[in-house]
């Protein structure tokens, strides 16, 4: 014998973005803090060590911000020209930056003046990075060269002249102290080995490379340039794994989430896209006010910092999750109440009787099960239900109509209760998805309460509102039909000979309406 079947609640597709785990995760940030810099923010880099300060390179200055500070806690401004690519060392104590005049400068976080100055590049140095052993610095410059510097005696160790255009991006492997990668405007990404003084691998990106990124394991390489983000498998000798084209404009920066599960890319089209690194599908996207030049994620994705061309630095902090725990915990039954009887082993002669699982029913379903129709209707006409989930209210009205008891449920209501119903009708009557059910309900209400109209000013006002609404809707429908007629005529003139092209009418879900007397 089947049990009570709950009322089928009509579900409607949720328009817009689908709610997934990722949207929840990436939307869980506070409103961004905007910090104005002096020029376009070309690089943001987080210190890998606590307290996770970050260095922002903009114009001729490098600002160090604390995690929650809106003012820089430190500034390096001893650059004659534009500074580029301020990068922390792995221990967070040294900072290296290139500059427009071809110099590479090494700073101590606590000091002000540069510790070392590496001279050798003839043109602007756009990329610098520390190698994995912490004692060398790699730099790439517009003079097409890539140089490796020794920190202790500030000397140039190696120079690679394999690129045929500006070297604009690069990064060092986090595992191997001798490996590093550079991307250039000659459309190639090259991997260099300090031990061989030539490049060991070169991949063709197809566009001027704006940004490169090595996965922490060193097995995958991501390059960005033009509208493309490409992922290469280094272990297979630089085979293209996947090519992503999700931006409208040049992709300028790349970043990995702290778990390594998501890849973020920022672009001049003012969007940051989040990809899954398993399926390489876009799972989320952020919008910003201006073209994005730089992007960085803090430890544990606590903060997203985005630098833009208009000099605005946008800082988003993750919402704290501690609040949920603050509620006083209800005292639950002890563990041994749950375990009671559960560990009983069945003896040979025992007959095991399972209690059938109890089906949970919504409150309105419980009422309907016991044929308490008015109560069920009251329950779903409660403002909390009508505002949040009008489809439940409509479904219950529909169900009552199907059972043939809608008139009984609507009858015998006082001023307050009837105004609840009328409020709901006024709000939702004109929605095409609810209209067929609600028009029927409105007709019944008018039939029932016609004799008592004029006794309550509140209800009369509601009826007048409803009448106005219906008249407006009729006018609107008439206009729509007129438009449709005009469009039909236009289509008829354009129509080709084959009778296959079909015009889909918009549903004119509003049938001829009835008069509302009041």
């Amino acid at each position: 014998m089947a049990g009570y079947k709950p009322v089928a609640i009509q579900t409607y597709p949720i328009l817009g973005e689908k709610i997934t785990q990722d949207t929840l995760y990436w939307n869980n940030y506070k409103t961004p803090v905007q910090i104005k810099e002096f020029g376009a923010v070309s690089k943001v880099d987080f210190s890998p060590q606590p307290p996770y300060n970050y260095a922002v390179t903009a114009s001729s200055r490098i600002h160090i911000y604390g995690r929650y500070s809106q003012e820089p806690i430190k500034t390096f401004s001893r650059f004659k020209d534009t500074a580029y690519c301020a990068t922390f060392r792995q221990d967070g104590r040294l900072l290296v930056a290139g500059s427009e005049d071809g110099g590479v400068q090494l700073f101590d976080i606590s000091g002000r003046a540069p510790l070392r100055q590496f001279e050798g590049h003839t043109k602007a140095v756009h990329t610098v990075d520390f190698t994995a052993d912490k004692y060398h610095v790699v730099s790439g410059a517009d003079d097409y060269t890539v140089k490796l510097w020794d920190i202790p005696n500030s000397k140039e160790i190696l120079t690679f002249k394999e690129h045929s255009d500006y070297v604009r991006c690069g990064c060092a492997s986090k595992l191997n102290p001798d490996l590093f990668i550079t991307g250039s405007y000659d459309h190639t990404v090259k991997m260099f080995d300090a031990r061989t003084n030539t490049s060991v691998l070169s991949v063709e990106h197809g566009q001027p490379v704006e940004s490169v990124l090595l996965f922490p394991s060193g097995g995958l390489l991501v390059s960005a340039g033009g509208r493309y983000v490409k992922v290469w498998d280094m272990l297979k000798g630089g085979q293209l794994l996947v090519s992503l084209k999700n931006h409208h404009k040049t992709v300028t920066c790349l970043c990995l989430s702290s778990s390594g599960q998501r890849l973020l890319s920022g672009s001049l089209d003012r969007k940051v896209k989040v990809y899954s690194t398993t399926a390489y599908k876009v799972v989320h996207s952020f919008d910003y006010a201006a073209s994005i030049l730089s992007l960085a994620l803090a430890h544990e994705d606590e903060t997203i910092v985005v630098g833009m061309t208009n000099g605005i630095l946008s800082v988003k902090h993750r919402k704290s999750e501690a609040k949920k725990e603050s509620l006083p915990r209800r005292r639950r039954p002890a563990y041994r109440t749950f375990i009671k009887g559960k560990n009983y082993m069945k003896q040979r002669d025992d007959i095991l009787i399972n209690r059938p699982a109890k089906k949970h029913l919504e409150l309105y379903d419980r009422d309907l099960k016991h044929f308490r129709i008015s109560k069920a209707l009251d329950r779903v006409l409660d403002p909390t239900c009508t505002i949040k989930t009008p489809e439940i209210t409509v479904s219950i009205i529909k169900e009552l109509n199907r059972r043939g008891v809608l008139a009984n449920a609507l009858a015998g209501r006082d001023e307050k209760e009837i105004s609840h119903v009328l409020n709901f009708l006024i709000r939702h009557l004109s929605q095409p998805r609810f209209a067929p059910v609600l028009i029927n309900a409105a007709e019944i209400i008018i039939d029932i309460y016609l004799p008592v109209i004029g006794q309550s000013p509140v209800v009369d006002k509601k009826f007048l509102l409803l009448q106005g609404l219906v008249e407006k809707e009729i006018d609107y429908q008439r206009e729509l039909l007129e438009t449709l007629g005009m469009m039909d005529m236009l289509f008829a003139t354009m129509r080709r000979k084959e009778g296959t092209s079909v015009l889909e009418h918009t549903s004119d879900g509003f049938p001829e309406n009835k008069k509302i007397e009041s």
Binding site: Y4, N401, P436, T500, S507
Partner: protein
């Protein structure tokens, strides 16, 4: 198949189980119910049909246990006979010919040699309760013409008659009065309820009556849902009654429990109500029984109840109001919208079942396999409510997909329409809802078909609707990184000059789609959805449309409302032939080129089987049914038949079933009914005699082997066992139930004599051997360990057998006789 075959229309399965109250056997092991011309015996535990008692020539109208012998059952039928059955073995014991139509049967323990029956003698609507004296006679056919009149002018239904307090009185109700007849005093008292025209008492009609088994108390059910308990009815003046009121609609049936402590009632609410101590306060409910309760009966042992429902179902209920078993036949109480379909997986017949359900019905076992809940909404059983109807269903992709359409139309403008697509899940072995589409069309859907081509990579569904459009739905993959998901979306919408689309059909290879728009048939390419060509015959709206199959795949057939059957050639785009035939049902055979068409005329329905390539039919059967045939379907056979005659070759691969307006399911068969039924009954007997225990599996195998060996040896000796059946004494002995046989000692010598003194010595010789073998087997059953002895016996036996064949010496014959005398005990055990 040597003799001339003859195709007959036979009723197949789906018989009513709820026509009369079901009856329990005394030990509650079996339950009996009337089912058309048969009485069915079901096991109350396993729900399986154990026996079908066939012998009546017309509808069986009543069954009762023989009050003097609980192992026997009386049944009455419209053919004017009362038959006495041994239900355990399924044997007809006696037939009493009464000679007039019997509408119901009652037995009373006190009236030993008579039963009561409802007959109508003079006018068609006047019924009488009579007592029929059953003469004692040993012959099988007995005339029982001695009728004595008891009550006149009663209701036809047996629910309106009840015998009370050990047969002291009988109560009958009709309209507004209750009459009680006292057998001893031979007087009738009559109690009338006010039937005044005022509204309050307007529905006072009696509907059913039941009598308390021990006290003088009569319970009557009424149209308005009241139950009245009558007491003191010995006196016309002092009688009293009390009212019990819970039902809001008519009380359909009442029954007292065996001890009389509680009263059971049921009605349209599908709730079984148990009134304890006949008080209004003390009541228990068993709700959600699924359909209107038609009958309630109580087992004589008092441990079980059962309710018969309008959806052809019997529910067996424990004393503590817990349903324990459901015997479900073909549900037939509502109109069939979906037509007949075959589930490609289970080969079950699929059609509308319970409200909102599709039923899967096994034609082989005459049993409902399962119900699929399509509408998934609480069914409110109330008079005058417009329900959601399941109007269309179709299987696609070899049973992987099922599409259903449900609609509810309250007024002309308010149509609720929903299409659901179900996917078969191999793990759960059932259909799971995949996509739900609200308002797939603006108006009713007239046809639904899947593209069933083998090579099609993407499941495709086409719906045609009265709104003038047909829509093509395809399965699309909308899975993302979070979950895998497939769903159906609309791929193409087509129309033709705003005509209503009436039918749609895919060609066998799925390359063409034919959609009929009223009088016009349009052909569409199923890849590009381009209109290829149109056919128009100006012969009325197209009612049926189908493509030819296999070698005839270039033909398209259409049947119109004006009674024209057209066949178009798709290659030449021209009419190939047409014929004047008022086609009601047109069904293509999935296994051959044949197409069956059933035409309707004023006299009845005729069947035509033809191939599209030629207008001459292969086979014609006139007058297959007197009423309108609504649906038909070809069911592929598991094992192909081999009819040699050309006219019947269309039945080789498939069987044709059809459903008439009164919802009887019919088919064509060449076998005589006896032939058709014997294998099953034999099988049942074999299964019945051996309980399937682990022990059986060990021994059963052994026995089978031995049987085979036995057969081999017998074959070698050119002797057939069934010869024993030719001897009347033996057959009588073996086929009479044990409890009616005289003692074994008395029978034995007669039996043995009959064996030995027959003139044909050969057959006589064989039987003893057979007997010995059986005896030996039994000993083996009982004791496994005496293998050694058995072997010795075995050698003895074979030696004996050979000897007998050669010559039977006198001494040996003596020995044999002695041997037989020793172990006649087994006969009693037979």
């Amino acid at each position: 198949m040597v003799e001339k075959e003859n195709i007959r229309v036979v009723r197949c399965g789906g018989s009513e189980l709820n026509f009369r109250r079901a009856v329990f056997s005394a030990d509650s092991k079996y339950i009996f119910c009337v089912s058309g011309d048969f009485v069915k015996v079901y096991s109350t535990v396993t729900e399986e049909c154990v026996h079908i008692l066939h012998g009546h020539r017309n509808l069986v109208t009543g069954i009762q246990l023989n009050p003097n012998n609980h192992l026997q059952l009386y049944s009455s039928s419209l053919d004017g006979t009362i038959k006495l059955w041994d239900y355990i073995d399924g044997i007809l014991i006696k037939t009493f010919t009464v000679g007039c139509k019997l509408h119901a049967l009652f037995t009373v323990a006190q009236a030993e040699d008579s039963v009561f029956a409802i007959v109508n003698k003079e006018k068609p609507d006047i019924f009488q309760l009579v007592s029929v004296k059953l003469p004692k006679s040993s012959s099988q056919e007995v005339e029982a013409k001695e009728l004595s009149f008891v009550l006149d002018y009663i209701n036809q239904s047996p629910k309106c008659i009840a015998f009370g307090n050990e047969g002291v009185y009988v109560a009958a109700v009709r309209e507004f009065y209750l009459s009680v007849y006292f057998f001893k005093k031979k007087t009738t008292s009559r109690f009338t309820l006010s039937s005044s025209r005022n509204k309050k008492h307007a529905k006072n009609n009696f509907t059913c009556v039941a009598c308390h088994p021990t006290e003088d108390c009569i319970a009557s059910g009424h149209m308005d849902g009241k139950i009245r308990l009558w007491r003191n009815f010995y006196d016309d003046k002092k009688y009293t009654y009390t009212c019990l009121h819970w039902h809001h609609d008519m009380v359909m049936d009442l029954a007292f429990s065996v001890t009389g402590t509680s009263l059971l009632s049921g009605g349209r609410e599908s709730v079984l109500v148990e009134w304890r101590d006949a008080t209004e306060k003390n009541k228990e409910f068993l709700p959600r029984l699924g359909a209107t309760i038609e009958h309630i009966s109580v087992s004589p042992a008092g441990d079980l109840f059962c309710t018969s429902h309008s959806d052809n179902k019997i529910i067996i209920i424990h004393r503590n109001l817990e349903a324990s078993a459901v015997i479900q036949g073909l549900v037939k109480d509502r109109s069939i919208f979906t037509g007949l379909m075959i589930d490609p997986r289970t080969k079950a017949l699929v059609l509308n079942g319970k409200p909102g359900h599709l039923q899967f019905y096994s034609l082989q076992s005459d049993k409902q396999l399962y119900n699929l809940d399509i509408i998934q909404q609480e069914y409110i059983n109330d008079y005058g409510l417009i329900q959601i109807e399941l109007t269309k269903a179709a299987f696609g992709c070899f049973g992987n997909w099922l599409a259903t359409v449900e609609q509810r139309q309250e007024k002309e403008t308010e149509l609720e329409l929903q299409m659901k697509l179900w996917m078969y899940n191999k793990k759960t072995q059932g259909f799971i809802l995949n996509t739900k589409i609200n308002m797939p069309h603006e108006d009713c859907i007239t046809a639904l078909c899947f593209c069933n081509a083998e090579k099609s990579e993407q499941p495709t569904l086409v719906t045609a609707s009265k709104d003038g459009y047909f829509k093509v739905w395809i399965l699309t993959d909308d899975s993302d990184i979070y979950k895998k998901a497939v769903g159906w979306t609309c791929d193409f919408v087509g129309s033709y000059h705003k005509y209503q689309a009436t039918n749609c059909c895919f060609s066998e290879d799925g390359s063409l789609l034919a959609v009929s728009f009223e009088e016009i048939v349009t052909i569409w390419d199923s890849i590009t959805w381009e209109l290829k060509c149109t056919f128009c015959q100006r012969a009325g709206k197209i009612r049926h449309l189908c493509f030819g199959r296999l070698t005839c795949s270039k033909y398209l057939l259409g049947a119109t409302e004006n009674g024209i059957l057209c066949c178009w050639n798709l290659l030449s785009c021209a009419l190939e032939w047409n014929a004047k035939l008022n086609v009601r049902v047109m069904e293509p055979d999935p296994n051959s080129e044949n197409i069956a068409a059933i035409s309707q005329s004023s006299v009845g329905s005729d069947l035509f089987v033809f191939k599209p390539s030629e207008p001459r039919p292969l086979y014609i059967q006139k007058g297959i049914s007197r009423e309108e045939v609504q649906w038909g379907v070809f069911v592929p056979r598991d094992v192909p038949e081999s009819f040699t005659s050309e006219a019947y070759q269309w039945l080789n691969r498939s069987q044709f079933y059809f459903l008439t307006k009164s919802q009887s399911l019919l088919t064509f068969s060449t076998k005589s009914p006896e032939e058709k039924l014997t294998p099953t009954s034999k099988q049942l007997l074999a299964e019945e005699s051996l309980p399937t225990t682990p022990f059986y599996f060990i021994l059963g195998k052994h026995r089978q082997l031995q049987d085979e060996k036995l057969n081999e040896t017998l074959e070698n000796e050119l002797v057939q066992l069934p010869l024993t059946e030719n001897i009347p004494a033996v057959s009588e002995l073996l086929h009479t139930p044990a409890h009616v046989l005289p003692s074994a000692a008395f029978l034995c010598s007669m039996f043995v004599n009959s064996l030995l003194l027959s003139k044909e010595t050969k057959s006589a010789k064989e039987i003893p051997e057979d007997v010995d073998m059986e005896e030996e087997k039994e000993s083996e059953d009982s004791d496994e360990e005496n293998d050694f002895i058995e072997k010795v016996q075995d050698t003895n036996n074979t030696g004996l057998g050979e000897d007998i064949i050669h010559q039977l010496s006198k001494s040996e014959e003596k020995e044999l006789r002695k041997f037989r005398k020793i172990d006649y005990s087994w006969i009693a055990a037979l």
